[in-house]
């Protein structure tokens, strides 16, 4: 309670005496400025992805010229080149793109939803849920292909549901409880994975280990098709949900006031994220750090704005570039892509942390 005697608060800025009409061009100009930057960044990112994709497909230890590549894709058989392009380079680049898009978009969505950069599907254990279910199916049940995808979906969805139930997030936004619940579940699932691997026979365990590191080696065209289909459907849906998620960002009460039911929006976003993460994980394994880093990198490029499409493309660039390095950085070895993203991701995260000036809210 402020108590005043005879103080007169006469020196405050003059308010509007009459309602001025306002300049309708003003909000348009401000919006145009932000939109210009978003447009530029997105164009640059897509160009960057295209460059990375072409390098991945055409260069490396076996160079394929553009005309040759075009002829191969349209059906001409070129000895040697055909096999390498169609069985290794192209599928890996495409799978990397799809997985990167899915993981990047998923991570950025969760981070926006929880208003916390820690809340990406890998930290929250959703990726781990998919992994554990997939490893169990691969090793114990001897399943493969679609069965692994279904198991990964079920595992991811189970963890997401458990997080919502256990953290009380279903009743309202509870980022911290969500993250802690997710960390606990992830730790538990890691033990499950270790146990499965220890009891499996050596050959199977090795196969599962490679997959668990996150690898694009040996992806099949059918898997790429499945992943591309899911990404093509789920990404636009996620972008549509994102426009309402932006209102949920203002707080649950305000979102209600603006006619947006926050729980419904969160549930939709969560469902789409689970589908995207699980699909990518089922095919390529849990590729480390992509979901975690794509959002913050996109935000940095956009000057602090959250953009799910931009984060998706950042994810695609990371995976394709990392896969190129994984394949050719050390001559004679073909590393899983997850090793590179893991190795490069951690220092990059630290750099992001150090070079980001804390916002007023964090500092407070």
């Amino acid at each position: 309670m402020t108590t005043l005697g005879t103080t007169t608060a006469a020196t405050r800025p003059a308010g509007p005496a009459t309602a001025p009409p306002g300049d309708p061009g003003l909000p348009a100009r401000v919006r145009a400025r932000t939109r210009r930057r978003s447009g530029l960044v997105l164009t640059a990112l897509v160009t960057g992805w295209l460059a990375a994709f072409l390098v991945r497909v055409l260069l490396g230890d076996f160079t394929i010229t553009v005309p040759d590549a075009l002829r191969i894709v349209t059906g001409t058989e070129i000895p040697g080149a055909s096999f390498i392009l169609m069985e290794s380079k192209l599928p890996r680049a495409l799978a990397g793109t799809c997985a990167g898009l899915a993981l990047g978009a998923s991570g950025a969505t969760f981070q926006a939803m929880a208003r916390n950069p820690l809340a990406s599907p890998d930290v929250l254990g959703i990726t781990m849920g998919s992994s554990a279910a997939a490893v169990f199916t691969l090793v114990v049940l001897g399943g493969s292909g679609p069965a692994v995808t279904v198991a990964a979906l079920a595992g991811g969805a189970a963890v997401a549901a458990a997080i919502l139930l256990l953290s009380g997030a279903a009743a309202g936004a509870a980022p911290y409880r969500m993250i802690l619940t997710g960390v606990a579940l992830a730790a538990m699932l890691t033990s499950v994975v270790h146990w499965v691997l220890l009891t499996a026979d050596v050959y199977r365990a090795h196969e599962a280990m490679v997959w668990l590191t996150g690898s694009l080696t040996g992806v099949r065209w059918a898997e790429i098709g499945r992943m591309a289909l899911v990404v093509a459907v789920a990404l636009p849906l996620l972008a549509a949900v994102a426009s309402r998620l932006r209102l949920v960002e203002l707080g649950d009460d305000l979102a209600h006031g603006l006619g947006v039911p926050p729980r419904q929006v969160r549930a939709q976003a969560m469902g789409l994220v689970v589908v995207l993460t699980a699909t990518a994980t089922a095919v390529c394994g849990p590729i480390a750090f992509v979901a975690f880093l794509a959002g913050p990198i996109a935000r940095r490029l956009l000057g602090g704005h959250t953009s799910i499409p931009a984060a998706a493309v950042v994810g695609a660039v990371i995976v394709v570039v990392a896969d190129y390095l994984a394949a050719y950085a050390l001559p004679g070895t073909n590393l899983p892509v997850g090793v590179v993203t893991g190795l490069a991701g951690a220092p990059f995260l630290l750099w992001l942390l150090v070079s980001t000036r804390p916002s007023r809210q964090e500092a407070a």
């Binding site: 309670m1 402020t2 005043l4 306002g22 305000l254 935000r299 602090g304």
Partner: protein, 321 residues
Amino acid sequence: MTAVQTPSTRHAPPAVSGPAGGMGPDAGPAAPATGGTALVAQGVSLGYQGRPVVEGLDLAVPRGQVTAVVGPNGCGKSTVLRGLARLLRPTAGQVLLDGRDLHRMPTRQVAREVGLLPQSPVVPDGITVAELVSRGRHPHRGLLRQWTRDDDRVVAEALAVTGTEDLAGREVDQLSGGQRQRVWIAMVLAQRTGLLLLDEPTSFLDIAHQVEVLDLVRDLSTQQGTTVVMVLHDLAMAARYADHLVAVREGRIAAQGAPRAVVTAETVEQVFGVRCRVRWEEPDGDLTVVPVGRHRSTSARPGAAARPGAAATATTAGGAS
């Protein structure tokens, strides 16, 4: 002497609000007919997880006027507002918006007619003032209804009315508390509702910014004919700026009506549990509430020069709010 007194502002004590200034042709429900009630609560009970907080609330919000809900901490005044804003479903009774059951209306329709500013909205990182205010247009948009010049016009007006035009390109998290609160109000104004519900719009603001925000609220009422319901913890401020006061104590309405009728020594003691002297200054109708408490006035203590009747310099008085 410790005094709780309203600062003098350029506003006369609230009189009958003027006819609607009109915020433009598409004001729709925002152009109200003066008189009557905009929002009515009938026997409303509200609670959280089975724990009742408000019981048997009967409340009529006069159209085109400023209503302030006052009461001690934890009395349920914010809960009352949450009930009126449809954030809480009543366990009994109903809330009527222009005669329609608020809880049976489509969500989007409510958002077009009732604007809500909660106590602590979250500022997203990196958002500019113009973008934040633009989000207020959401209830008027649809899958097929894209952003139009009309939306721009409404946003520009909201910026102009709240005096935040100069801030349009600035980032919200770099503004001062008072500026930020005006921006939030601009966002709710862009929603173009005839009814605004504000939960503690002046909390965490210093006195100058409190006055700035409340002056704006009065402007909206007298110039645009907007109906405002706000929760305030400051009794003197509420009495100065509201046409209609609702005093809440332990989840029930202790008194409601014109400030002069509500703020009496008896009601203040009953509602806040503090004995006090209440004085309405003539001729401008400023209110002074002096909490009596257990101690004598510090200025009347031995050693201090007794200055009967002298207004105190700024001190903090607990209790009366």
